[in-house]
Symmetry: C2
Subunit: 162 residues, 2 copies
Amino acid sequence: MGSVSVAGAPVTMLDLESCLGKAVAEVLATMLNYQAIVVPRSDNRITPGLSAIVGFGGKISGFIALHLTLEGACTLASGLLGMGFDEVDDIVSDAMGEVVNMLAGGLKKYACQSEELFKISIPSVIRGNDYSTHAPKDSEQRILSVQAGPCSLTVQLVVEQH
Amino acid sequence: MGSVSVAGAPVTMLDLESCLGKAVAEVLATMLNYQAIVVPRSDNRITPGLSAIVGFGGKISGFIALHLTLEGACTLASGLLGMGFDEVDDIVSDAMGEVVNMLAGGLKKYACQSEELFKISIPSVIRGNDYSTHAPKDSEQRILSVQAGPCSLTVQLVVEQH
């Protein structure tokens, strides 16, 4: 299991994955009142639809991406905002950006030690029917499959290797 | 012209756009020995192909995205790495991630005041034939069209509004 260099106390990818799992469960419980089932996934295939990505940098650097089908994004946004969505518009995209932002905030809270681990960027949201995402070669990644009520999502954590 | 809140001295979007223009010119001159022509663009239409995105967070938060056609990415990677590319593979994707990383480093260098303005994430690279990118509603953006020798690229700067 890889570790990423943090002055004083190393943080392993396993620690980060565990903290991200807690953040996912907390965000979905708070926002949607759903108990999330979070399962680590070994393949790294991402189905296009909508990807909300937030970067972070500091003692560790990386990004978190939330991947959903277009239908999945509408379902999650409907649950969050209490209104129906038939297609992914700017409101749905902004809501997915907010969710990945909260996941990064939760990861920071759970993984934080005595000092702040990283600063968080603002989210960028990709949507479409034909695209793939690529992480740098000198990075490690973990992928979580999440089921929360009717919502299926994939959460990807990519961290720079040192 | 909008300004983003930085303790002590405000940084305007015009400042950041100007610093990013300098960073673009420096990176392309250093890496490719090309004199870049950088022109601010008023429309925000992005053509799919390859988008390399790097986030930043700290006193200001946002992201920089480098957008190219797939052919444009091959041309730029060929110039950078001194070898030919017919299609966008992982080497081309990593090279475009490196370029956007250098642009963020250059922006930080030129925009930096007495204190560090932000920390930089690692790049994520999107490639495909059908996708669009979306910035949060509470953000400001500037788009630069860049021509450097045979390379045409678009550089997008998105910064959180306060």
